[in-house]
């Protein structure tokens, strides 16, 4: 057990100052209308280049491969300084672990330097329009034709597809087999003939995409892993996303507390406290002079701290649901000014509270909705028996009761 300050030696401290300076300089150069959170930073080519120049897109890779050869502590410094500023990780590592392990060696060699330089980024092609979190029920079809595959179907929430070069795509290659055993994974270039990327905006000010696949003829070299063994290929990144595969060392857990999906709530809390200390009510008092306001802020603060102490799948649910609860409560505490977006007259601290409220709602769904995690917790933490549904193991058509 250790919650102590992480001690840095001189060299590590120097490294931290350098990262600080790099990011501060970058943020100072951006326009005032910048949106503060979300995947927008990923689009910023200037930042991507600056990070790539230092090998920081794939910070743990060896320097000769275009990485920075960072150990755990240096890596932690980079992630900490990015997250502290509300900048998302650049995030090709998740998919790369599967590509490296299951990809055609030629393809891996071709992509490796481009991944390090930021020229190649990946997005996840999992969810389908009528599928939700049940990824293994994918219907997007891939049919073999000689040395090629013909892919037809569509995916939703292929977030970042418009700025990615490849989609990490799950397809159905054998509809007759049990549903987890008829799947095959591909890397599909986003500019390949037949691939169409269409943008969708969310209420949380995030951009995501629908991607369509119409008779996409893809060479077999883009297949990852064995035919019909796509579930094995996908599990690595999925487990990582679901926190089951992570090791505990006190650093990983800290990064979990600072996941991008939580930072808007932190910003909204700070904005509300600042508002409560400085705003002036009609009787001349500050809101924070009111014991009711202090009680409510205290409750939100405790809820956030509780979520920060919740790890793994428990933390997934706690973190996202605290986002929803906390943002709504912070809005209520402030009143109508909380409804003003960042560019409106009188917005509270750049509209952080307004935005957090709209942003929070998606966080209980993406990456697998919280109900999926509740079912995992029921089975694996509590040991409750697994419910049997007609479609648990097999592909079955929808039917009415």
């Amino acid at each position: 057990m250790d919650f102590g300050t992480i001690e840095l030696d001189d060299q590590q401290q120097k490294f931290r100052f350098e990262i600080d300076a790099l990011l501060d300089e970058h943020l100072a150069q951006r326009g005032p209308e910048r949106r503060r959170f979300g995947p927008h930073e990923l689009v910023d080519p200037v930042l991507v280049r600056k990070l790539a120049d230092r090998g920081l897109l794939m910070p743990s890779w060896p320097i000769e491969d275009g990485g920075a050869g960072l150990d755990r502590i240096h890596r932690f410094i980079v992630d900490f300084e990015l997250r502290r500023r509300g900048i998302d990780g650049i995030g090709s590592e998740l998919v790369w672990s599967a590509v490296k392990r299951f990809g055609n060696p030629d393809l891996v060699e071709e992509l490796k330097p481009k991944v390090a330089s930021g020229e190649v980024r990946f997005c996840l092609g999992y969810t389908e329009p009528d599928g939700g979190s049940d990824i293994a029920a994918a219907k997007t079809r891939a049919v073999r034709d000689g040395n090629e595959w013909i892919i037809n179907g569509s995916k939703v929430f292929t977030t970042a597809a418009h700025i990615s070069q490849y989609i990490f795509l799950i397809t159905r290659t054998d509809p007759e087999k049990p549903k987890h055993r008829g799947l095959t994974m591909f890397l599909v270039p986003t500019d390949w003939p037949g691939v169409e990327v269409s943008q969708m905006q969310t209420i949380g000010d995030e951009e995501t995409n629908v991607t369509y696949y119409g008779d996409v003829r893809l060479p077999d070299r883009y297949r990852l892993g064995e035919v019909n063994d796509g579930w094995t290929v996908l599990r690595g990144p999925l487990d990582s996303e679901h926190d089951f595969a992570q090791k505990t060392d006190g650093l990983t857990e800290s990064m979990g507390c600072w996941a991008m999906e939580r930072t808007p709530t932190y910003a909204a809390f700070d904005a509300t406290v600042e508002w409560a200390r400085t705003a002036i009510r009609s009787d001349g008092s500050h809101p924070i002079d009111d014991p009711t306001v202090r009680l409510r802020l205290g409750r939100v603060a405790a809820d956030i701290e509780w979520a920060m102490c919740s790890l793994g799948p428990l933390g997934r649910v706690a973190g996202a649901e605290v986002n929803v609860r906390a943002a709504a409560e912070l809005c209520d505490i402030i009143g109508p000014e909380a409804l003003l977006p960042y560019d409106a007259d009188g917005a509270v601290d750049g509209g952080d509270v307004e935005r957090a409220h709209q942003f929070a709602q998606a966080t209980i769904t993406y990456g697998g909705c919280v109900e999926v995690f509740r079912q995992m917790i029921a089975q694996h933490v509590l040991g409750l028996p697994r419910p049997q549904y007609p479609g648990s193991k097999n592909l079955v058509p929808a039917r009415s009761l």
């Binding site: 300050t5 060392d249 507390c257 600072w258 603060a301 079912q375 933490v381 419910p387």
Partner: protein, 348 residues
């Protein structure tokens, strides 16, 4: 956002010594304190033999500095002990006596040292009166077991001694609660000066933190009792635990317990290693534990259906103590407001 981005580790793993403490108390309570012992101790909520066995293990001295004859156990160890005590619903004044021993050791006056010896061996239990005295009687936890009470009176900590313990008053948690008039009895000064109030406040904080740990242990055990029921109780031809209307509320309890257990342990670690650095953590831990214990035991009772509200069902023992322990020191919401007070004072 710097308040949320501290350059710190967030490592909740127990080390081997901590696991040994946990195992020792888990083994002790599972052997010596089945629910039959809990029931037999009602309504007073005190089992003399069980308490005597615990005293023999050195529970009142383990958290004292070695200069005061203790084992210098970390506050984290005390929290691990309290979790197990809570899980077993042990009818013993463990938490009140551990914190009063620490108060007396810190007070350090000759009188305090003399009284401490009696607390450590169990011959002379002492209670701390939670709220400053304004001449009103107040409900004091474990007061029915003690002749001596420590009272904060202005700038002094007084030892108030009576000839007889005040009579126990029946209460939902079946604890030795009693009405106590802090002005009645022989008064002796334990400690004078600004440290008196500070020490009293620290003691209440420690009491709350150990109560929070006990509530976490209690809720966790109640949850698993409900889980066992949900595995073996059938409806519509399936175990009720397969129904998400049953399993999801239980998963919520698991989520609450997991985060709160860690929050309590983190608060204990900070209290031990960097006292005062995060004054918000103990109020957070206590208020959260009180909330999740009420929710968790209510859920566990409801999983049992009508059986859950019967006296004979063990789960009802847990339900009554969840509220019965959480309120002993006042409204848990006061602690949420205390966090707000720290925010107002820009202390966090």
């Amino acid at each position: 956002m710097d308040r949320f981005f501290e350059f710190r580790r967030n490592d909740f793993e127990l080390d081997e010594d901590q696991e040994a403490v946990q195992d020792a108390f888990r083994t002790f309570f599972s052997k010596e304190c089945p629910t039959s012992v809990v029931r037999a101790a009602e309504p007073l909520g005190y089992d003399k033999n069980l308490w005597s066995d615990l005293l023999g293990l050195g529970v009142t001295s383990m958290g004292l500095p070695s200069a005061a004859g203790g084992d210098s156990a970390s506050f984290v160890d005390l929290v691990l002990m309290a979790e197990e005590c809570g899980a077993a619903l042990a009818p013993v004044p463990l938490i009140s006596q551990v914190v009063v021993a620490r108060l007396l050791a810190a007070a350090g006056s000759p009188l305090a040292n003399e009284v401490l010896a009696g607390v450590v061996c169990g011959d002379r239990p002492v209670v701390v009166v939670p709220h400053a005295s304004y001449g009103q009687r107040q409900l004091v936890p474990d007061a029915a077991l003690a002749l001596d009470a420590i009272v904060l009176d202005g700038r002094s900590l007084l030892l108030v001694t009576r000839d007889a313990s005040p009579p126990a008053v029946r209460n939902q948690g079946h604890t030795p609660l009693a009405w106590l008039d802090p002005s009645a009895g022989t008064r002796q000064v334990l400690l004078d000066g600004p440290r008196a109030a500070e020490l009293h406040a620290r003691t209440i904080q420690e009491w709350k933190l150990l109560t929070a740990a006990a509530l976490v242990g209690l809720t966790n055990r109640a949850m698993f009792i409900a889980v066992e029921f949900a595995k073996t109780r059938y409806t519509l031809g399936v175990p009720i635990g397969t129904l998400q209307g049953v399993s999801f509320p239980l998963a919520d309890v698991a989520i609450n317990v997991g985060g709160t257990r860690n929050l309590v342990r983190k608060a204990a670690w900070m209290h031990e290693h960097e006292p005062g650095a995060r004054p918000d953590l103990i109020p957070m831990a206590f208020a959260t534990a009180a909330r999740i214990a009420a929710h968790g035991t209510a859920t566990a009772v409801h999983v049992h259906g009508g059986l859950g509200v019967t006296i004979e069902a063990d789960i009802s023992l847990y339900f009554r103590r969840a509220k019965g322990w959480a309120l002993l020191l006042g409204d848990p919401n006061d602690d949420y407001r205390a966090i707000g007070d720290l925010l107002a004072a820009a202390a966090i």
